[in-house]
């Protein structure tokens, strides 16, 4: 085998592929992984328990004892930020995992079955589209009660059509590629073709879409908490911390609201740019 053939024909090794990849994707993924690790290991990283307060040491600015200061109940803001990452990330993750699963199931089945079923699914998604996510969430909270569950259910419903619409277009295009027909000719059943070929082949685009949706789900969920409809005190959550810090903000101590806002912005920006870069990479590959 000649050198040229070797270079052209052989599958690149893992290291080669990493080197050829988009460096920004690695950097952003690194940031996200770091934040997730912080959330997971919060009990070991946090200098104080999140709910231990000292009313005599309330509304303090940053110091060597409290790096980000304390809130109005004298609780350590850094500790609450670390613990708050758990619920703040868990919520949107659940929403996106469920919404993407439903969206994929709806998109693939409607494209595969076609006809009236496709029409029915399209109308159902249109109907869901008509409801703003926040409104659905408020309705769900009214029915189920405040906490993480109600907003997660409501926002899953709200995000499913958002993801499904894009995924359906992609699946439809993929389904009419000739290789799907040759799978049918080999005698693969519809299930086998969908799970072994269709879904894996559209997964990069679904991933990009889900990543971008994660950012807006996080903001929506934080907004719900901010309104007091989501996670309830004394639990730590970023959206809740933003609203919690409001009175302190007016008293000239911005650290609680500010640090929570910064965390939300960092995560949202990271996933948005990450999603865009993944989408861009898909285009390059297509």
């Amino acid at each position: 085998m000649s050198l040229v053939e070797e270079l052209v024909l052989e599958r690149p090794t893992f290291v080669q592929r990493v080197r050829r990849g988009d460096p920004l994707i690695y950097v952003l993924s690194g940031i996200l992984i770091l934040i997730v690790l912080c959330a997971l290991f919060a009990p070991f990283l946090a200098p104080y328990p999140p709910n231990q307060g000292n009313i005599l040491a309330a509304n303090l600015g940053p110091s060597s004892a409290h790096w980000l200061g304390t809130d109005q109940l004298g609780r350590d803001i850094l500790s609450r930020l670390l613990f708050g990452a758990r619920l703040s990330l868990l919520g949107p993750s659940l929403i996106i995992v469920f919404a993407t699963t439903f969206a994929l199931a709806l998109a693939v089945s409607s494209v595969w079955i076609g006809g009236w079923f496709d029409q029915a699914v399209a109308r159902l998604l249109d109907t869901l589209f008509a409801f703003p996510g926040l409104l659905l969430a408020i309705l769900a909270v009214a029915m189920i009660g405040p906490g993480l569950l109600a907003p997660v259910i409501a926002l899953t419903l709200a995000y499913t059509p958002y993801i499904a619409r894009v995924v359906r277009t992609v699946v439809l295009r993929e389904r009419h590629l000739a290789y799907v027909e040759s799978c049918q000719v080999v005698g693969l059943s519809g299930w086998q073709i969908c799970f072994r070929h269709l879904i894996p082949n559209v997964s990069p685009i679904v991933l990009a879409q889900a990543t971008i949706a994660f950012g807006s789900a996080l903001v929506d969920l934080a907004a719900i908490s901010y309104l007091g409809l989501g996670v309830q005190p004394p639990q730590a959550e970023w959206g809740l911390m933003v609203s919690d810090g409001q009175s302190a903000l007016l008293n000239g101590s911005p650290w609680e609201s500010l640090s929570a806002c910064v965390m939300i912005i960092v995560v949202v920006l990271t996933v948005n740019v990450l999603g865009e870069r993944i989408a861009l990479r898909n285009e390059g590959a297509a």
Binding site: G114, A178, Y179, V185, V186, G187, H197
Partner: protein, 332 residues
């Protein structure tokens, strides 16, 4: 002996914008065991539609009447499991464009073993061994390395051989080859055709060979059917159809071939090919036929036996051997 495939009075209509359009009209064909039948015709004449009908791959909403008997069982009325089994083990298909028909992000090995592994009693190692020997048979050396490669790393000719290997992997009884060499260059075409022919004869496989190349059809098939506007106009053994065509359309196809080594121009059939949905009530070829009569325009001829062959032409006997097309332009 019973035919492997018997198509009787197949009529297919497809929905095109809320309207049903005929694509095949009263098509009847039989393919005996280990027989190769060529199906020739211009683009849009319904050759591929015939193959797709056999595979039950027509779009949803298609209206099909008639019967397609595979080893005596009607394909059109098969239920889900029977249809899967028929596609899996009864029949295999080779396409014009192998690159489009293989999942681009899966390896050649995945593609080839997928069908074999549908049978759960076959181990992965066994499937791979089988595939390696198949690749060897279709003339792909270094098969183990090829199995790890992706479709984009193989040339068109190699991919078509992979396609042939895939088609043979399930030991089908019938092979549908839809212009398998059209997209290849001439030398590769010849190699691929030789491999296909050899493996087919070796396995005594029945084949429906779809092409627009009459010479190729005559070379590799036993019988040839000529198709025009969704209708079969002539069926006969390959050699005599090639030398002594009965239907004016078949003669026209033969005359349209360029002759090498002479300055004689090819004599194309005047007019343009029509779609099956545009067919007049009379003979489908009436508009372009130089020998058209009133009868041809009013009554559609059916296939009837003339000199051991079948032809759908009212004037077959009287015109036999005399049909020729005027040259549209004198050679320079």
């Amino acid at each position: 002996m019973d035919p492997v495939l018997a198509i009787e009075h197949l009529h297919v209509e497809l929905p095109v914008r809320s309207e049903m359009r005929t694509v095949l009209h009263d098509v009847s064909l039989t393919i005996g065991p280990s027989e190769a039948l060529g199906l020739v015709g211009e683009s849009g004449s319904g050759k591929s539609m015939t193959a797709r009908s056999i595979m039950r791959l027509l779009q949803p909403g298609a209206a099909t009447t008639g019967t397609i008997l595979f080893e005596g069982v009607d394909v059109l009325s098969m239920h889900h499991d029977a249809l899967l089994a028929f596609r899996r083990r009864g029949v295999a298909m080779i396409y014009q464009d192998p690159r489009a028909h293989i999942n681009p992000v899966r390896t050649i090995g995945d593609f080839l073993t997928e069908g074999i592994l549908l049978d759960r009693s076959v181990s992965a190692a066994k499937a791979q061994a089988k595939v390696v020997s198949l690749l060897d048979e279709v003339g792909i050396p270094d098969a183990k390395r090829r199995l790890r490669q992706y479709p984009h790393q193989l040339s068109g000719g190699l991919l078509q051989r992979v396609m042939i290997a895939a088609a043979l992997s399930e030991e089908p009884r019938l092979l549908l080859a839809d212009e398998p060499t059209t997209a290849l260059d001439v030398t590769t075409q010849e190699e691929v055709m030789a491999i296909l022919d050899e493996l087919r004869v070796e396995r005594s496989l029945a084949m429906l060979f779809i092409t627009h190349d009459l010479d190729l059809a005559a070379a590799v098939t036993d019988r040839v059917a000529a198709m025009y506007a969704g209708v079969i106009v002539e069926v006969g053994d390959a050699a005599s159809l090639h030398t002594d065509a009965l239907h004016p359309y078949t003669v026209g196809l033969l005359d349209s071939r360029p002759e090498f080594g002479t300055r004689v121009r090819a004599r194309p059939i005047p007019g343009r090919p029509i779609l099956a949905s545009e067919a007049p009530p009379g003979c489908v070829f009436a508009e372009r036929c130089p020998y058209v009569t009133e009868l041809c325009r009013s009554e559609r001829p059916t296939l009837r036996e003339v000199g051991g062959r079948f032809v759908a032409c009212h004037r077959a006997e009287e015109l036999r051997g005399t049909i020729s097309y005027a040259r549209t332009q004198e050679p320079r």
